[in-house]
Amino acid sequence: MKYIDEFRDGEVARKIADRLAIEARGDRQYSFMEFCGGHTHAISRYGVRELLPVNVRMIHGPGCPVCVLPIGRVDMAIKLALEHEVIVCTYGDTMRVPASDSLSLTKAKARGGDIRMVYSAADALTVARDNPERQVVFFAIGFETTTPPTALAILRAQREGLKNFSVLCCHVLTPSAITHILESPEVRQYGTVPIDGFIGPAHVSIVIGSGPYEHFAEEYRKPVVIAGFEPLDVMQAILMLVRQVNDGRAHVENEFTRAVDRDGNLAAQQKVSEVFELRPSFEWRGLGEVPYSALKIRPAFAEFDAERRFGLGYRPVADNKACECGAILRGVKQPTDCRIFGTVCTPENPVGSCMVSSEGACAAHYAYGRFKDIPVVTA
């Protein structure tokens, strides 16, 4: 397909790799965090890591929407389905996120909950129109990319005067998560997670623009290169980061100019700010409570806020003790550092959230990389 195939050319990837090998200085290490799960997936799927010089290391970031969704939030959605008997609509990946009592939305559905997978927020609206006698809640998750469609759904519900539609809003914000990582003790004090720069998200940046990253470059002296989701985009962005580090520069650069500019999608931003406001604090799986890192529905749209309509309170729940998702989401550990990776915890039976979505660090490594580092044992 046009604009895809050209950006997956293996020959060109090798040439960028050769250039990287020349320009990455042998006397130092380079550690870059790819914030976004889309990049984590691309790096694993296309074997980008194998094309990098040994002293260039990629650290997976927390930019995988279902990975950072804490158990307590999934519990709220399950409660809505099983106790309030509403129809809960949500994105496919969200269905399998482990929750309390060994449940997930999929398992709650097996117990009789009316839980439906939808492709978009607009489809949840259709479910509400088709079931006027039932309450329908859209369990909305994701970063700045999925937020504008949720805003559109709420605006449309208001226009149509829908009385049976509301949203359990769990939308989170990329810049606050990056700040949180840069402020974390692992990065600031102990240096256990060395970060020399970031690959900035592709689709998130289409919406918010490259402007919001300028603060990290200036304040924390960390270069940021926004990259597309194709393997050549990632390779080129890594090369641009190596060049910035070598030159002692810390700027925001944009490799994904075919879709990202400095201001982003202003129409989308306008819809989001019309419907949502900042939440003072939100719990992320792995990162804990992060101030001003998420959105909630404005009081003017209170009737579409499922938390208010059903009087839902948030109760934090600790992750499974054996699970290392928290440390993996902070960049402190790799999937293979987890004792249950690939044995107890697999994509078919995920214990931790990083094994659920194909964007999760564990699922991506399980699908594309595990045979490289798990010894073959004959039965």
């Binding site: 559109l152 075919r258 129409a267």
Partner: protein, 61 residues
């Protein structure tokens, strides 16, 4: 929208300027941005330049 042969309805409410024939980036059923063909060519040319630079850097036989 036509996705490599698959036809699918998507909302263009977030990119009202999109016209038939344009390439859009789709996320959860909504076009969230457009592809700028000139910038795409420029990025590809950047990859190409690298190849040319590498070829030029190789020692003559």
């Amino acid at each position: 929208m036509n996705l490599g042969g698959i036809r699918k309805d998507v909302s263009i409410e977030l990119v009202p300027e999109a016209q038939v024939g344009d390439y859009v980036i789709v996320h959860v059923g909504h076009a969230i941005g457009m592809i700028d063909p000139e910038e795409a060519e420029r990025t590809l040319a950047l990859f190409g330049e690298m190849s040319a630079a590498m070829a030029a850097a190789e020692p003559a036989p």
